[in-house]
């Protein structure tokens, strides 16, 4: 047996993330007790119509979220309990909603910082309706082996350590949430554990106080003794003492009260929970409470530390008189173990996992990213720059200062080429249609291909093929004509021998000035001499030049288009921002710019 929370309890949780977390803790308890989860619904208007996921063992349960308590109880008529995890400013209205629902008999409020007036009104309403309102600021209620409401009891290991998978003989009532677990633990170590433990909350006026719960425990034959953890302030402990002393009670009462330190503190200084405030003339002091409880016949250990031995003594007496028959503990092997997460199981060397992907360039698991093993901040602080990061991430090597300078110049020369080229035009068109940055830039990026900017890789590939196979220019051109087609990197739409591309001149001039070996560039320039002699505009274009130079400094052929893509992204972003800044209008092609070569208007034949 137990009180308040038992095998018939069915729960709706009112609230968001904190409520979902509580449901997860409750599911762990259910898993330990091999029961199905008794949380049937959530009420949280912002998420109404959705579902919350609650892990149970290695699976996932899906619990519906409703807008109102009435909807929840209509769809789940078994619900008889509500847990309130709503913010202090809305908690009163939410709790009233639950109290007034005919299905609900118990409402436990976890919310802290609830105005006293609200708590009193809720207590009055609950009394009027013959229901139980527990809290505010309650850590929850737990009945060993059957039902857990809230996070009381803590982590799964603690549930097992405190033997909460089976019933004991001690009831617990505490204002302090943190101490609830401590007492549950003590009861499991010095005696046979708990029947039910209740956190009533540390506020000045809890909805239900010790006396109501003592009465319930008195009527629960399985509970032989009750442990009260009190605090200075108010008169709840005195009222409990009065109840206990009023007539002969079946249950034994053990109690500790905190706040003796108050006597030796500077006047007016007070600690602890909101309810811990001393009244006039010493009433509500720890001493007056402790004296009242002693006088009523309760066992009041002098310190918290003496509580364990006192519980043991009480337990031993019950065993001796035959009122408690000690139960053998469940062997550890029979207690369910919470499935581990994959991460935990891997840490414990219990499973191996075949990785989904493999990376050889970058690691984000530390406090900063490492590029090919080098921490980003160290690269910065030792004077490395963007081209070196490109070297590390694209080719897994630290390039030299000279190589970095070449890469930098390539990026600078290719960053943009005005609004008319395919990429920039596509981005501008998208920007003017109100498309966002990433999509508009992607639109420009899509244009990069064989006819625009995307010939760098192919140019590099064929120049490399020729040089590596020691071809002459004539052999190369013959091979290309037969097997490939036009030579990538050769030819330009508007530039020609007479109207040379300044970018090419600049890059070639710089690389040549360095006195390094450039076999691929040299070959490309030889090819140009032959092709340009045939036709004026068959010059080495900027793609071809970049390609040859990058192969010369060792970049792999497959990475070469990346240099153009990277560089031109700078320009595309610029064009998008530029259009945005001007608040440009939608572009529509004028019809006079279209040659309408489609058939003239004609009659549609009947459908056959």
């Amino acid at each position: 047996m137990s009180i308040l929370a038992n095998k018939d309890t069915r729960v709706v949780i009112q609230g968001g993330a904190a409520g979902v977390n509580a449901a997860r803790r409750m599911a762990e308890f259910c898993y330990l007790n091999k029961k199905s989860l008794y949380v049937e619904a959530f009420v949280y208007p912002p998420d109404a119509g959705k579902t919350n996921e609650v892990p149970y063992g290695s699976g996932l349960l899906t619990i519906p979220v409703y807008k109102t308590v009435a909807e929840a109880t209509k769809n789940h008529p078994g619900i008889n309990t509500s847990l309130v995890y709503i913010g202090a400013d809305r908690a009163c209205a939410g709790t009233l909603e639950a109290l007034n629902d005919p299905h609900i008999k118990l409402v436990s409020m976890i919310t802290e910082g609830v105005p006293e007036k609200d708590a009193k009104l809720l207590a009055k309403q609950a009394t009027k309706l013959g229901k139980v309102f527990n809290g505010p600021s309650s850590i929850g209620i737990i009945s060993a082996g059957s039902c857990r409401l809230g996070v009381i009891g803590g982590a799964f290991d603690n549930l097992v350590a405190c033997k909460l998978y089976r019933e004991g003989s001690f009831g617990v009532i505490t204002k302090s949430g943190g101490l609830s677990n401590e007492i549950i633990w003590i009861c499991s170590q010095f005696a046979d554990g708990i029947t039910t433990a209740i956190g009533i909350g540390g506020d000045a006026y809890p909805g239900t106080d010790y006396v109501s719960y003592l009465e319930m425990f008195e009527n629960d034959p399985k509970t032989k003794a009750v442990v009260i953890v009190g605090e200075m302030g108010g008169d709840l402990e005195e009222r409990a003492a009065e109840w206990y002393g009023a007539k002969k009670r079946r249950i034994k009462l053990l109690a500790v009260v905190s706040g003796f330190c108050q006597e030796s503190l500077p006047k007016g200084m007070k600690f602890g929970h909101a309810g811990a405030k001393e009244g006039m003339k010493g009433e509500g002091s720890a001493r007056s409470k402790s004296d009242a409880l002693k006088k009523a016949g309760a066992i009041v250990p002098p310190t918290f530390g003496a509580l364990g031995p006192a519980i043991k003594e009480t337990y031993d007496e019950f065993v001796k008189s035959g009122q408690i028959v000690p139960v053998a503990d469940v062997p550890a092997s029979e207690v369910p173990k919470l499935p581990k997460t994959v991460e935990q199981a891997m840490r414990d060397n219990e499973v191996t996992v075949v990785p989904l992907i493999r990376t050889t360039i970058s690691d984000d698991r530390g406090d900063e990213p490492c590029y090919d093993g080098y921490p980003a901040s160290e690269l910065i602080n030792k004077g490395y720059e963007i081209p070196h990061i490109i070297g590390l991430l694209w080719d897994k090597r630290l390039i030299s200062k000279q190589e970095a300078e070449i890469v930098k110049r390539i990026l600078m020369l290719s960053a943009d080429h005005g609004p008319c080229v395919s990429g920039a035009y596509a981005t501008i068109l998208a920007a003017c249609a109100g498309i966002g940055l990433s999509q508009a830039v992607a639109a420009g990026m899509i244009m990069i291909g064989p006819r625009f900017g995307g010939a760098v890789t192919d140019a590099g590939r064929w120049f490399k093929y020729a040089v590596d196979n020691k071809m002459t220019v004539d052999e190369f051109l013959a091979y290309m004509k037969k097997n490939v087609g036009p030579v990538p990197g050769i030819g330009h739409r508007v530039k020609s021998l007479r109207n040379p591309d300044k970018r090419v001149k600049e890059l070639v001039g710089y690389v040549k000035s360095l006195n390094i070996k450039t076999p691929y560039l040299d070959f490309a320039l030889q090819v140009e001499q032959v092709t340009a002699a045939k036709k004026d505009n068959l010059i080495l274009n900027v793609d071809g030049t970049m390609a040859a130079v990058l192969v010369d400094i060792g970049f792999p052929v497959d990475s070469l288009n990346g240099f153009f893509i990277l560089a031109r992204t700078i320009g595309l972003i610029g064009h998008w921002v530029d259009q945005k800044r001007q608040d440009s209008r939608l572009i529509r092609l004028f019809d006079y710019l279209v040659n309408y070569a489609a058939p003239k208007r004609r009659e549609v034949p009947p459908l056959k």
């Binding site: 202090a88 105005p115 803590g154 982590a155 943190g178 006026y205 006597e263 007016g268 909101a274």
Partner: protein, 399 residues
């Protein structure tokens, strides 16, 4: 519980129809003189000046002066401003009109578990304290209002008769309205006086305690709550409060001068048991502290730094019960960082640290604490199998 100073307290009473004397709260002599030029009552009537601070026994301290004219009030303001009482500096003075009167009465409303109690007495001032038997009460249940007949009976029971009986019943009704609507926990008017000129009831002095948790529904509570200690908060206390207001969970810190046992326990319940244990063993607390509700590690670190910098401490008690959901490893991470920082700044020399804790990730958390030994900390670490407050016994046995 949040204490409100006299000025804003009288403002709230006035809002609910209670007549209060004319008053001004000033922070400088210039401001007082400025106000005097536009307020007839300052120029013509008799005045009272009081230090507007959360101080007890102001009369004895010479911080209440009565029967002043304008010049006298100006001198009183000048004298009181800047005066140092303990850690409090007087920064505000309230100057109010003196109400010539013969009779003094008492009225208050106090929160109870089921509602409130309205108290009346037909004596006031200090007289009421020695005649508590003459104070009569009326109990009002939460959600209800006092019936006019019950208030009349209360006035009669308290010995009021004639026209003043009707007036004091009305006064009590207004005081109840203020109490109920302003989420008050305690309102006291002592004395309520009968103004000689017209027989009107005036609230001469007010004690106002409000429910700080209800602030969200009172946009007009634009005043600061006063420190409840009879002293101003220290710099470190204010810093911890600032952290507390920003985080999920909470951190609390109160300094107690002259102590040598520093406290750094978890939880609002356990922390008081730890303090009790120190006092029971004859130790002297250097502070109260508490972290609870799974606060972020950085907040616990700030709290730890404050605790570690308390002067002349011999022990630090890092106690705690078995947590429900406060992550021991994470919060201990904050404490460890705080200890390391304190040590690097030359503190914690000769200080013994005692740890006891349980809860989520307790093994990892306690292990991290134990490792501090290797860094030269004098630290002893216990787990859940050691009873809660035994570390206090151990610390104080070899003091």
């Amino acid at each position: 519980m949040a204490k409100v100073l006299e000025g804003p307290g009288m403002g709230l009473m006035k809002k609910w129809g209670i007549t209060v004397p004319n008053y001004v709260v000033v922070t400088s002599v210039e401001q007082f003189n400025e106000l005097a030029t536009v307020n007839d009552w300052i120029q013509k009537g008799k005045l009272v000046a009081k230090a507007h601070e959360a101080l007890g026994s102001r009369f004895k301290l010479g911080l209440v002066k009565v029967d002043l004219d304008r010049k006298g009030a100006e001198a009183a303001v000048k004298e009181m401003l800047g005066k140092q009482v303990g850690s409090i500096t007087v920064t505000q003075v309230i100057v109010s009109e003196m109400i010539p009167h013969k009779e003094e009465h008492y009225a208050s409303v106090k929160s109870t578990r089921t509602g409130c109690e309205i108290f009346l007495a037909n004596c006031g001032g200090i007289e009421v304290e020695s005649n508590w038997g003459r104070v009569k009460k009326l109990t009002v249940e939460i959600g209800d209002k006092p019936a006019a007949a019950d208030l009349d009976k209360l006035a009669k029971d308290a010995g009021f008769a004639g026209p003043v009986a009707k007036k004091i019943a009305e006064f009590a009704n207004k005081l109840f309205a203020a109490f109920d609507n302003e989420d008050a926990q305690y309102l006291e008017v002592n004395p309520v006086v009968v103004r000689a000129s017209d027989g009107e009831l005036i609230a001469l002095d007010a004690v106002t305690l409000l429910d700080g948790d209800a602030k969200f529904r009172h946009p007009d509570w634009n005043f600061q709550f006063a420190a409840e200690f009879g002293r101003a908060y220290t710099k470190d206390e204010v810093e911890v409060m600032a952290v507390d207001s920003k985080i999920k969970g909470s951190v609390k810190f109160i300094q107690i001068p002259g102590g040598n046992i520093a406290m750094l326990p978890a939880g609002g319940g356990a922390s008081v048991y730890y303090s009790d244990a120190v006092v029971a063993r004859g130790g002297k607390l250097a502070n109260y502290a508490e972290y609870s509700g799974d606060p972020p590690d950085w907040a616990v670190e700030v709290l730890t730094e404050k605790v570690a910098s308390l002067p002349d401490i011999k022990h630090i008690i890092v106690g705690g019960a078995i947590a429900n959901f406060t992550d021991v490893k994470k919060t201990f991470g904050g404490i460890i960082a705080g200890f390391r920082k304190a040590k690097s700044e030359g503190r914690l020399r000769g200080v013994k640290i005692w740890v006891r804790r349980g809860g989520p990730n307790e093994k990892e958390g306690l292990e991290l604490m134990r490792k501090l030994k290797d860094e030269g900390f004098d630290i002893t670490v216990f787990d859940r199998s050691t009873p809660l407050t035994d570390i206090v016994d151990m610390a104080l046995q070899n003091k």
